[in-house]
Amino acid sequence: MVRQMQDISCKVLVIGAGPGGYIAAIRAGQLGLDCVIVEGAYYGGTCLNVGCIPSKAIIHAADEFEKAMHFAGDSAIGVKAGKPEIDFSKTVAWKDGIVKRLTGGVSGLLKKNKVRAITGWATFVDGKTVDVKGGDEDCRIRAENIIIATGSAPVELPFLPFGGNVISSTEALDLPAPPKKLAVIGAGYIGLELGIAFAKMGSKVTVVEALDKILPLYDNELTRPVEKKLKSLGVDVRLGARAKGASDKDLEIETADGKAETIKADKILVTVGRAPKTEGWGRENLVLDMDGRFIKIDDKCETSMRGVYAIGDVTGEPMLAHRAMAQGEMVAEIIAGQNRNWDKRAIPAVCFTDPEVVSVGLAPEEARSSGYDVKTQVFPFSANGRAMSMEAEDGFIRIVARADNHLVLGVQAAGRGVSELSTAFGLAIEMGATLEDIAGTIHAHPTLGESFQEAALRTLGHALHI
C-alpha cells in the first residue's frame, strides 16, 4: 500500500534533537523562523539520554555510596554510620526519572518556541528535501535551510562487537546491578568516569588502555591525581595493553610486554571513542565535502552545500555537547540573517573522574608548540583551606599565560568539584583576561576558587599562601 506522504515546507529543518539540534531549533523559533526538528530516537540526544546527564547521575550515586562506605569505616571527621548497601535498580530508576524530566523539558521548550517536532528518521532526497519515515507519520519536508545535527555513536571494536557481555556506555548506564568484575577497554574520559563509578559501587575493575597513559588527551600533571585515586580504589590499570577478543566472560588481552593474558569479566565495557554519525540519513544523496570522518564546515558551520549546515559531533572534535549548543545557536542566528561566525576562544573540557579534571584553552605544552613564550604555575589544593576542610586536598589549579603580555591562554585543574570552576576559567579566557585581571579579582574565602587567584599570583611571582 502506498501511503500519501504529507508535504511540509519550512524555513529551517533540524535533523537530530541532541543538544546542538534542539538549541538550534529553539533559537530559530525565538527568532521567528518557521522551524521543524526531526528526531528518530530520543529528544535530548546522547547527552540527555545515554551520555552526560545519566552518567553524572550514576557517578553521583557512586560518590554517595563511597562516602557512606567511608563513614562505615574509621572516618577522620568523626562521622560514623552503618555499612551501606546500594539498590542499583533503584539508582537506575532515579536516573531515568531525571532523564525523563529533562527530555520532557526539551520537548516543552521546542513547543514553547513554536518548533514543530516530528518523530522519525530523516533521509535526504536532495539538499533541500528530506523524507521522514519510521515515525508517527511519514512525510516529506522541503526546507530553505537544513541543519545536520546527527551526532555520534560509540565506536565498536571489530573483534569485540557490542552484544551480550560486551557493552557500550549506553548499556552500562542501564545495568541491573554493578557487575562483579568489569573490564573497561579504553582509558579515555568515558571509560574512566564509568570505571571509577563502578569501582566505588563494588565492582572489581580492570582498565585496558593501548597507550601508555590514562586520559591520553591530558598531560601527566593533570592525570596524576586520577592515577592515585585509581590505585586507592584498587582499579587494575593495564597500560600499553591491547584487547584481542573475548569469549563469554574472558577478555583476551596482549600486555605491554607482548604476553597474552585473560581477564575475567562479567561485563566488558568498550569505550574506545565515538564516531560521527555520517551514514544512515542519505548523505550519499548530497555532495558534502568531508574533513576526514567528519562533515567539513566553515566558520559559519556551513557545509560545502549552500543552505546546508552541520553542527555538533558530526563536524569534528571536541565532541562535546556545549560545543554543539554554541554552534546550534550561532547557525540559527546566521539563518535569521545575523552576522555571526565561530569566534570562540576556548571550549572547556571536563572529565568527571575522581578527582575531576578540567581543561580550558591551551595546556603549557600546547601553548609552547603553538609558538607562545609561556609563563605557567600551579597552585595546589593542599595549600587551600577550603580543600582541607572538605578532605579534597588532591589536585591543583594551573594557569598558562603569555609571557609578554600575561594574556591567559589556558587554565587546567584537577580536584574534587573543579568542574564547576570551569565556568570561571572559561569566562576568563573568553573575556581575554590577563594574569593581573584574575589576581586583581576578589575571590570569596574560603573556596576552592581562591586557588585560581593564587595560581595567577604565583605565575606573577607573588603567591600569598605558598
Binding site: A349, M431, G432
Partner: protein
Amino acid sequence: MGEHVIKLPDVGEGVAEAELVEWMIDIGANVREDQVLAAVMTDKATVEIPSPVEGKVIWQGGKVGEILSVGSPLIRLEVDGPGNVKPGEAPETAKDEAPEAAKSPAPKETKATPAEEKPAPKPAVQADKPKTNDRKTNGALPLAAVPRDEGEKPLASPAVRKRAADAGVDLRRVPGTGPAGRISHEDLDAFIASDGEDSLARGRGLARNTAVTEVPVIGLRRKIAQQMEAANARIVPITYVDEVDMTALEDLRKQLNETRAEGRPKLTILPFLMRAMVKAISEQPHLNAIYDDEAGVVHQHGGVHIGVAAQTPNGLMVPVVRHAEARDIWDCAEEVGRLSGAARDGKCSRDELSGSTITITSLGALGGIVTTPVINHPEVAIVGVNKMQTLPRWNGSEFLPRKIMNLSSSFDHRVIDGWDAAVFVQRIKTLLENPAMIFIEA
C-alpha cells in the same frame, strides 16, 4: 637581535617606482640613524633614503640601475631589539633573490592551520619558531593601542564581538587599548565613531575631530563673497611686486611725528603712500578708473578716491578717503584715522563705504612679504602693502641695514598693460624712497 626592513618610501606624488641610482652603504656595513642608505631617482628628482634606525646591513633590495616599486623592501638591517620583521619571514638568501624580492613584498608565512576548532587561537607562525615579542616582559602593560601580529585573533569579550558583528565591523581592524591589546566597548565605539577609519592616534591623547560646523554665509560675509566672486569672475589680474627702501621715509616720518603740532594725528605710512599714489596717478590717470565692462567704457576719474581696506570686528570693510588729491598729508592721516575708527565701530555711512576709484590694502605686521591683492571691482588697480623689515642691502661697497617693504599691486590686465603697471609701481617706489619728491610739485 632583530631584523628591521626598510621599504622604499613614497618618494613623490604619483610615483609608483624609482630607479636605484646609488648605494651609499654595502652589506656588512654599520649604519647610524639618519645615515643615507641609497639614492633613488624618479622622473622628477633624485631622492636620498635615510635609515630610520641604527643597525648593520644584511641585505640589499637590488642593484644600481634596477627599478624598485614604492613599498618594496629596500634594505634589511640587523638591529638591537626586536626589529620589525618576524623570524621566519625574512628570506634566507639575499643577492640571488634580490630582483624577485625587490618587485614584490616579502612572502608571508602561510597560516599554520585554517581549522578553527581548536580550543584556543593559534598564531600564524610555525609551531617550532619562537614568537617575536614586541612588548617587554617586565609585567608593565602598555596603555596605547597594542599592535596585533598578522593573523592573530583580535582579543575582545563575547559582548564586544557580538556588537561588532551586528555593526558589520571586522574586529581585526579595531585597535585594542586594553591589557594584552583587548578591544573594549570604548575602542569599538571610537572605531565606529571614526567611520571605520583607522584610529591610530587612540591611546596617545590625540583624537580625530570629525565635527563639521555649518556656518551660513550671510550679511557682510555674503557681500564680501559676492564682491570677490565678481572680481574673480570678471577681472584678469596681473600682480606686480617690488621692494621699496623705506629708510628715508621712515626717518622723515619719525621727524614729522616728533615735531608735529598739537592736535595733529600721528602719521603712519598710509598718508605718504596715498600722496605718492596721487602723484603717480597724475601721470597715469587711466589707473584711477572704474571699468564698466558691460558697457565697454573705462571711466577715468579726476578725483582720487582711495579705498582703504580695513579689518573690522564685522569683517573686511573698505572705507573711502575721498579726493585725496585735494588733501595734504595731515589731512589724509586725519581722514584715514576717522574712517577706520568709524569702520571699527560700525558707524560708517554708505557714502563713506562706496565710490572709491583705487584701493590700498594693508595688513600691517601681518602683511607678509608678498600678497596677491584682489582688485576691488569695478576698479582697475589695488596697491598692497607688505610688512616692513630691516634687511641688509648692498650699496656698492658695503651692506647697510635698510628698512625694506614690498608693495604687491594688482591691475586689471584687460585695460592695464603690464608695462603701465610696472611704471606705476616704479613711480611710487621712487617717490617713497625719495620722500621729498612727494611734496615738491613737478
